[in-house]
Subunit: 306 residues, 2 copies
Amino acid sequence: MDLVRRIDRAAGEFLLFALTPPRLATARERVQEIADATMARLRPLDLDGLILYDIDDEAARNPAQRPFPFSPTLDPANYLADNFTSWQTPVIVYRAVGKYAPSELRTWLAAQDPARVMTVLVGASSSKIDTMTSLADAQALRRDVNPGLPLGGVAIPERHSRRDDEHLRLLAKQDAGCRFFVTQVVYDVNAAKNLVSDYHYECVARGRTPVPVVFTFSVCGSLKTLDFLQWLGVDVPRWMENDLKHAADTLEASYQLALAAATELMAYCRGLGVPFGINVESVSIRREEIEASVRLAEQLRTEIKG
Amino acid sequence: MDLVRRIDRAAGEFLLFALTPPRLATARERVQEIADATMARLRPLDLDGLILYDIDDEAARNPAQRPFPFSPTLDPANYLADNFTSWQTPVIVYRAVGKYAPSELRTWLAAQDPARVMTVLVGASSSKIDTMTSLADAQALRRDVNPGLPLGGVAIPERHSRRDDEHLRLLAKQDAGCRFFVTQVVYDVNAAKNLVSDYHYECVARGRTPVPVVFTFSVCGSLKTLDFLQWLGVDVPRWMENDLKHAADTLEASYQLALAAATELMAYCRGLGVPFGINVESVSIRREEIEASVRLAEQLRTEIKG
């Protein structure tokens, strides 16, 4: 079943792969080369869909210094339109809505083909940021100009660990039109299980149907990447952090940890009956990390029933 | 290999079963009947050892009302001496040291046969309690009067979740003579992994050999037992609490959760190379809960390599 129909029917299981567009400063011909190489690498994976992230500085999120300097990237909407024309599956385009004027978002939303594009609208990472469009306004724009465009939202298990109300936020986002959710990178499986569990039982209590929750996994090839994930707000359980810090091969250790975590979550969701997807994210631009991400998606493809 | 030699060599893997002695008010003949029935039930399990708990009121631990009223139980030292004479394996007798005068502890410690008895000395559950003997004094008494008597200590993953220093407490207890540790009931596997991981890497950093960590599991046949566990300070992850509350059969659900948790921890400890034991505790006096505990021990026996 095609991803659009799965989302429409709130049905799992499916596999996505998430990319960050190249840096804004990349030469135009080089951008297409990167896109072509990426598509060639991903085609054998039999993905159900692709995610293109919309990167924001997020400096306001965390007063600590960003482990990697922020480098603006191409607009994922343009990257898709200009460089991924030959890609076959639906593509989920993220929109960090605060970066765009309402008119700009409206034009983009209106122009998208619901059979090929979905969008995840993301609010600001901190209330301290000046935003051009709020999440609620962006959600309303989609309803106005292209209600058939499948909408997703972000789900943050870490926020559930702190406030115990992320499942209620998910249901509120569902009321605002969200038909699926995507987590940030999951290292803390327990936090993800807590969120899914509360979401499931709240759906049961309200007589609502749960929509697919897409869990994101990635490999981590260096301790600096680990620092960066933590800076971004990803909770890494102490034992995983220890294992990664002491591993002879950090990349391989993180691959095994991600595989085990994904497998555990998949079994848990199946047991509960919550539809789910798996998203493998390529965090780094280092060749061996990209290859390990592809290997992770390849392995998870064999475990996904769908 | 016999449990005494395993502990002496800091070697896993082994299986224990933990009992609470009958209530103090039990008629004398009835006590022996209970002990005989218990031994008959446990003999087929091929246990490496038995644990006898020393129950304390612990009212000072938690201002909330105790879900079950406190009912004093027989002294485990007496229960062992009077009623378990025909039991074959070594027995680990807990001593809630604050309940006893130093002279009383000294006499008991001096009289124990290190080939048959071990002890776990437990300090007060709250600093607000008046104690007759402190943990440090009790440890010193053992060193003085029976240094060959194998000593264990308690390990509390939940405390590690709050303070991040339980691994240092374990090493300090090791310095005070502890040759093994026993956790309270584990529901939060992640917390237990965090503690074992920090303990392992701290041992490596200091060139110390880890001693066996014994993880305790139990079944939970009712939501009142679950309340009681939480009152006692056991962290139950939200998803487990949800699953237990919504299970058609709480006891069977808790059996499956305990089995999965134990299996996960065993695999994790093997990967790290930390020696471990498994302890199955029978919390309740309800027949079906006791039988499920025995079934859990039976199943875990097949998974323990030792």
